[in-house]
C-alpha cells in the first residue's frame, strides 16, 4: 500500500503542503517496505492545469491513497478514475499523517474546489 502526500521538503518531519498541484515535493510512503521516497513535482510550474498533471503523477506513482488539504475538481476526477482515495490532511508532519492513516484516523476529503487558476476562473 502506497500513500502519497504533498510537502515542501524531502523530509518525513515536514508539514503537509497546503497546495496539492503546486507542491514542490511528494512524499510517498510504502507500508510494506515501511520506507519513504520523495518525488519532485514537475507539475508545480505549469502555467495551467497543474492539478491535472499532478493527478497524473499520483496515478503513475501507483499510490493507493493521497493525503491533502484540498484538491481541485479536475484532479479529483482523475484520481477517482485512477481509484486513488483522497484523505483530508490534519495538523502535523508527514510521518504523523502516515501514522494517522495507518490507524484509520483520517477522514476522506469530500469537497473539491473548482480551481484557482485557468481551470476555474479568469484572471482579471
Amino acid at each position: 500500500m502506497k500513500i502519497i502526500i504533498p510537502t515542501e521538503t524531502k523530509s518525513q518531519d515536514a508539514p503537509v503542503c497546503p497546495s496539492f498541484g503546486r507542491a514542490p515535493i511528494y512524499a510517498i510512503y510504502d507500508t510494506e517496505g515501511e520506507a519513504y521516497e520523495f518525488l519532485e513535482n514537475i507539475a508545480a510550474d505549469s502555467s495551467s492545469g497543474a492539478g491535472i498533471k499532478a493527478a497524473q503523477i499520483v496515478a503513475d506513482s501507483g499510490a493507493d491513497a493521497l493525503i491533502t488539504y484540498r484538491c481541485g475538481e479536475n484532479a479529483a476526477n482523475i484520481l477517482e478514475t485512477a481509484k486513488v482515495k483522497i484523505y483530508k490532511a490534519q495538523q502535523g508532519t508527514i510521518a504523523e499523517h502516515v501514522a494517522m492513516y495507518i490507524d484509520e484516523e483520517l477522514p476522506l476529503l469530500t469537497e473539491s474546489h473548482p480551481g484557482f487558476h485557468n481551470g476555474g476562473r479568469r484572471g482579471r
Binding site: S48, Q56, N77, R121
Partner: protein
C-alpha cells in the same frame, strides 16, 4: 477608426463612455467585448439581425485507434489531457485549441471537433451597429469570442470597442487592432492603481491614448494627479452628476437625451480624430 475603451477596474464607466461615444458619431459600430457580462445592449436595445455561435476546436478521441502511447499527454503544455488506467481523459476547458495533440498522435486517433463557447449578436439601434459577444456560463476564456468580434469591425466609419475590465489576455485581444485607447478612471486610490495597470498596457502596445476622468467631484482627484505627473492627456472630465445616474438607471443614453453631453462626447471624438489622423 477603432477606439478601445478600457479601465483597470470594473464600474469606472467604460460602458457609459463607449455607448455615448458611439452615439456621438453619426454612424458607428459599438462592440461589446466584455463577453462575461455584456451590458451595452441594455442601452441600445438593438433590433437583432444576426446571431452566430462561436466555437473552438477541441480534440475528439477514437478509442479504437488509441494505443495509449501517451504522446498527446506529454505534448500538451496546458495539461488538458491525462491517461489514467488506459483511459484518455480530455479536459476541454484547459484546451487552447493548438491542435498539437492531433499532430503528435501517431495512430490518427485524435481529430478536431468544434465546441460552442458562446455567441455573437449583431443588431441595429438607429445608426449604430451593435455587436455583442456573449460567453457561455462556465467557460474559461473569452478570447476566441473577442477575436470574432474584432474581425467584424469595419475599416471605415468609427468603431467603439467596450473592453472587459482589467489588463489580462481578454483586454489585449480587445485593443489589438485599436487606433486609439481611452482609459476611463474615477477619483479613488483604487481607481488610480488600476489606471496605472492599463496605462502600462497601452504603453506596451504603443497605442495613442488619453484618459477620461469620470465621476469628478470637488476636492482632490488622485487620478488627475497621476495623469499630470505622467504627462497623460486628459480628454474630458465628467462630473459625478445625479442626472447621469438617473439616465443610466433608466437605460437611457445621455448623448441622445441631453445636448450638453452630446457636445461633450462630440468634442472627445473630435480630439481623438485629430490625434489619430491629423
Amino acid at each position: 477608426m477603432k477606439i478601445a475603451v478600457l479601465s483597470g477596474k470594473g464600474g469606472t464607466g467604460k460602458t457609459f463612455v463607449s455607448v455615448n461615444l458611439a452615439c456621438a458619431a453619426d454612424k458607428a459600430t459599438y462592440a461589446d467585448c466584455d463577453v462575461e457580462e455584456p451590458n451595452g445592449h441594455l442601452f441600445f436595445k438593438p433590433v437583432i439581425i444576426d446571431k452566430t455561435a462561436v466555437t473552438v476546436k477541441v480534440p475528439l478521441l477514437d478509442q479504437d485507434r488509441c494505443t495509449r502511447c501517451r504522446k498527446c499527454v506529454d505534448f500538451c503544455r496546458y495539461n488538458a489531457l491525462a491517461l489514467i488506467k488506459d483511459q484518455l481523459m480530455i479536459f476541454y476547458e484547459m484546451c487552447h485549441s493548438c491542435g498539437g495533440c492531433v499532430i503528435v498522435c501517431p495512430e490518427g486517433a485524435l481529430t478536431e471537433e468544434e465546441r460552442e463557447i458562446g455567441a455573437l449578436e449583431e443588431g441595429l439601434s438607429d445608426e449604430i451597429s451593435v455587436i455583442t459577444g456573449r460567453m457561455n456560463i462556465g467557460e474559461v476564456s473569452g478570447v476566441p469570442i473577442i477575436n470574432e468580434i474584432v474581425k467584424r469591425l469595419p475599416e471605415e466609419d468609427i468603431s467603439v470597442i467596450d473592453c472587459p475590465p482589467g489588463s489580462a489576455c481578454v483586454v489585449m485581444e480587445s485593443i489589438r487592432d485599436a487606433d486609439y485607447c481611452i482609459l476611463v478612471t474615477e477619483p479613488t486610490l483604487f481607481g488610480v492603481h488600476n489606471l496605472a495597470m492599463v496605462y502600462d498596457l497601452v504603453k506596451l502596445f504603443n497605442k495613442p491614448f488619453g484618459v477620461i476622468l469620470n465621476k469628478c467631484m470637488s476636492g482632490e482627484n488622485p487620478a488627475e494627479e497621476f495623469c499630470v505627473e505622467k504627462g497623460i492627456s486628459i480628454l474630458a472630465k465628467i462630473p459625478f452628476d445625479k442626472e447621469l445616474g438617473r439616465l443610466n438607471s433608466q437605460g437611457l443614453i445621455a448623448v441622445r437625451e441631453d445636448r450638453l453631453y452630446r457636445e461633450l462626447f462630440q468634442g472627445i471624438l473630435f480630439t481623438i480624430e485629430r490625434e489619430v489622423s491629423p
